[in-house]
Amino acid sequence: MDYIIQTVISALSFGSFYALGALGIGLLFSVLRLINFAHGDFITVGGFALIVPSSAVVATVAIGGFHPVFTILCIVAIVVALALFSYFFVFQHSQTSSPATMMIVSFALGYTLQNAIVMIYGGRPKAVNVFPALTGQVQLSDGISVQILQLVIIAVTWILLISLVLFLKRTKVGVQMRAAAEDFRMARMLGVNGKRVIALAFILSGGLAGIMSLLFVTQTGVLTFRMGVPIMLFFFIATVIGGMGSLVGAVVGGYAVGIVSVVLSATLPEELRGFRDACVFLFVIIILLARPQGIVLTKAAKERV
């Protein structure tokens, strides 16, 4: 029983993490029809921004060593700046292209970022210790002890989700964003500033990426230049399975992927453990065969005839 509760919390924690990630992807897709393959690399940059540029194996913590609040603010600011930079200098110019072209653009951006990191920090993995207090355990009751970080991830996710919902529903700019996400051209014809809405989407997406980089690096304690790629892929899978173009779908998809991932980890026989990711993909493919547009349907997913 205790093991089950721990697994449940683990599943919720994983699910929350993927929900946040899928949300970051979903925001940009809904407003801009952009599949941002560089999202994972934004997270990577956030992680590497914690340390001093060097090729040492044990990283010297720079920003990571500041007061926690300051660290969080700095990292989030850096990633948001990166996101805005990529909007103004890269994505803005290809906005009129097809989603497919924009996808390659983001892939190119991501790959360039990865290798720029190698240029600055070298290619070897680095150990980094950030927010060590969170990696400790807390006793919930007799026999159930969970990692504090897992609870933090769940809490942070829900705080962010609720804030985002309030923002989208209650603020003028938020409503504009929802309108623009559904029908960008019509929104502009009613006076909504297209550039501002898109920039805002990038800021939100970048902010989410910044927070995720902190959570991720605290959890793993390792920085590698390619670390953003597998997680980015999982976020996309979550968006696809949840229903592209829907923010609710992104969250649902994120939880689905996270929960299945943990359940598989817990239940797969020893030899197949390494193939857990493949099994997650298999699960996703089965869902997509039954329901190709994803779980939550939106206007974006429906074909225009």
Binding site: I35, V90, A100, A108, T112, M119, L288
Partner: protein, 351 residues
């Protein structure tokens, strides 16, 4: 003015882009072969193998409009399948102990091995394509990316068949420039003929307007699957060629790097043109070579490691922003002489 007014000339005019590309490559191969420069020959072989891959990419991406990030997975499947058949007869068991007895004890001629490698890749494409090609264009692209990652991590863990993270060493280095050239011609011809066939036409109609294509009776799923499988076949063969060029294989070489480079070559050259595939390979191979040499330092100038990758990335971004259709503008190399015989004949008849 040469008019295409004999059957032979008409044939040449039809195949003109293909002819130009093959003859052009032939000239390069002859020159490099004559020069005897080994380093140059190696760069050439690498380029020719890339041409096979990028031609296959063009076959699928150019005609379907769906970006595939997964074809390098097929290259890997073909490469290792070849290794299972031709590598290191005396040490095979040491590198890949899990192989079935037949493979442990027998070796095939490299041409057969490469062919079977291609077939295996095609089979893998068939199975995965049945799931992936059902999805919408963007979701399918994500699916191919996921597929490549799954293959990569599977091959990484499957150490009894692939040696996992370490290398498999000892493949016969049978890929000479001439061998590479022959396969490049085969791949180019295959991509060319496919595009000009009714299958290519049907697929392109779905690229331009999926709904209209379906309404016209095109089996979009089937056509996409077909192109996926055929392109995977060529990629598989390229993998075998690659293995027989390097003499060794590592799973890590078939991951993001190769995916990025080959995709860039296609995009920079022109995604919807076979000539673009070749142009892209040539241009970026030169760029990468120059940057790599600068990384090692020439004449006192040294640039940091990974500059080559960053350089290619920047080039790709610039092309995508300023000239989406690539260097060739999505056009093939055209017959330079006076065009249609039937039109001029008709005009003659009228007057």
């Amino acid at each position: 003015m040469i008019e295409a007014n004999t059957p032979l000339l008409r044939l040449i005019r039809y195949f003109w882009p293909l002819v130009v590309l093959c003859v052009g490559l032939l000239i390069v191969v002859v020159i490099v072969d004559a020069s005897g420069d080994i380093i140059l020959a190696q760069t050439l072989v690498e380029g020719l193998v890339r041409i096979v891959i990028v031609a296959a990419l063009y076959l699928f991406i150019g005609n379907s409009g769906i970006i595939s990030f997964g074809h390098i997975g097929f290259v890997m499947v073909g490469a290792y399948a070849t290794a299972w058949q031709t590598c290191c007869p005396y040490t095979r068991e040491m590198f890949m102990p899990g192989l079935p007895t037949y493979l442990l004890n027998n070796s095939h001629h490299f041409i057969l091995a490469i062919f079977l490698g291609g077939l295996l890749a095609a089979l893998v494409a068939l199975i995965s394509g049945i799931a992936i090609m059902r999805m919408s264009g963007i979701a399918a692209s994500i699916g191919t990316f996921a597929f490549m990652m799954v293959l990569y991590s599977a091959y990484l863990r499957w150490s009894t068949w692939t040696s996992g993270a370490s290398s498999v060493i000892g493949l016969p280095t049978t890929t000479t420039p001439w061998v590479g050239y022959v396969y490049a011609v085969i791949a180019l011809a295959g991509a060319f003929l496919y595009s000009r066939s009714k299958f290519g036409l049907a697929l392109r109609s779905s690229r331009d307007d999926e709904v209209a294509a379906k309404a016209a009776g095109v089996n979009v799923f089937g056509q996409r699957l077909l192109a996926f499988v055929v392109s995977a076949f060529f990629c598989g063969m390229a993998g075998g060629l690659f293995g027989h060029f390097l003499g060794m294989l590592t799973v890590d070489s078939f991951y993001l790097g190769m995916t990025f480079i080959t995709l860039s070559m296609l995009v920079v050259g022109g995604m919807q043109s076979l000539s673009g595939a070749v142009v892209g390979v040539v241009i970026l191979s030169i760029v990468i070579d120059v940057l790599r040499r600068l990384e090692s330092g020439i004449g006192g100038v040294t640039i940091p490691t990974s500059s080559a990758e960053v350089g290619v990335g920047l080039i790709l971004l610039i092309i995508l922003i300023f000239r989406r259709t690539g260097i060739t503008g999505n056009q093939e190399i055209y017959w330079p002489f006076k065009a249609d015989i039937s039109a001029s004949a008709a005009m003659k008849r009228q007057s």
